[in-house]
Subunit: 165 residues, 2 copies
DNA sequence: TTAATTGCGGATAATATATATCCTAATTAA
DNA sequence: TTAATTAGGATATATATTATCCGCAATTAA
């Protein structure tokens, strides 16, 4: 019943990509190094983000990843959905149809209150995450960073990003 | 990333127990038969409910399970928490401390916006489930049942429950 | 054209969790 | 005492997560 840690990785990766100037890209090696996570597994998450259309990929020399849309339009739910999928997490196995007193089809016109409540709960969960755009994450992280660290991050980007104008 | 199906089983089991007259109890064999699920595994869920204080158990001959409190005061969140635990499902591994531009301790006074958003999302999820008492589930199920089925359920309880006055 | 770089996709292994079952001990009513 | 019943632990199986690797396609620079 856990959420894969890949979600956190992907969120941080997107936050880094949001710092890049337009048109610049970062290779997965650089991203993995920056985040301090194993490169091959991060690649999985990045591929998922790519399939979901959240990042653009550029193959070949000087290739890499960049955000596909403005950071304002990418929410934490977008990232979560790309990694974990959108399938309901509560699985209804229609227990009420079982047993000696099972309900007939006619008595099951709709999901019962149990299933309805879980659907509702997942819905508000989704909406809460959808309300947080990547820009908010970046702004929050920038707010607590010291000037020295901002400098270091800027330098690192200059050194590792490709496609800088 | 899934919720155990035991949650659904336990919810249905509690809904059945809520139909019993005060003081009556049902054995796990009877419950498993009623729900059409494997008895030994349902026992796991019932033990979890017992540990959480949601049901009372009575050992020995003519023993069984009964609700520990009024059905009005037992919510779907109570049942979910008893089965799945209350640990956060989003795991924050403090990635921002990693890598060449890792943040210092002084720069991490609080969880970042990513962690905060997931905490908030889990919170509203929890509250949504907590707002649904067992009585609502029972009322909803009763509303769609035919008279014949209500009769059959009543008969079944008469036949299988112990401690009937 | 050629060689080097880089992401994509599939295959695979290791680990953790969820699912399911069984057995023994403890408890209680009759 | 005897029969019934749950608690709890040990165990097996299935599934999901986590992590890694390799060959291929795409791209670019020399
Ligand atoms: S819809 Fe409700 S009653 Fe039917 S199986 Fe799902 S949870 Fe149980
Ligand atoms: S608190 Fe935020 S920044 Fe730190 S590791 Fe968790 S998600 Fe990442």
């Amino acid at each position: 019943m856990k959420i894969g840690k890949g979600v956190e990785w992907a969120a941080h990766a997107c936050a880094v990509l949001a710092l890049l100037p337009p048109g610049a890209a970062l290779s997965r090696e650089c991203l993995a190094d920056y985040l301090g996570v194993p490169p091959p597994y991060l690649a999985k998450q990045l591929q998922a983000l790519s399939r979901a259309g959240l990042v653009l990929t550029q193959r070949g020399a000087a290739g890499g990843y960049q955000l596909a849309r403005d950071a304002e339009t990418i929410s934490l739910w977008d990232i979560t959905a790309a990694l974990e999928g959108t399938a309901p997490r509560f699985r209804c196995t229609e227990i009420r149809r079982n047993g000696p007193c099972g309900a007939s089809s006619a008595e099951c016109p709709a999901p019962c209150d149990i299933a309805a409540a879980f659907q509702q709960a997942e819905s508000v969960y989704r909406e809460t995450l959808a309300a947080v755009p990547l820009t908010q994450v970046v702004a929050g992280a920038t707010a607590v960073a010291t000037d020295g660290r901002k400098q270091r991050i800027g330098d690192w980007i200059q050194q590792n990003a490709s496609g800088l104008s």
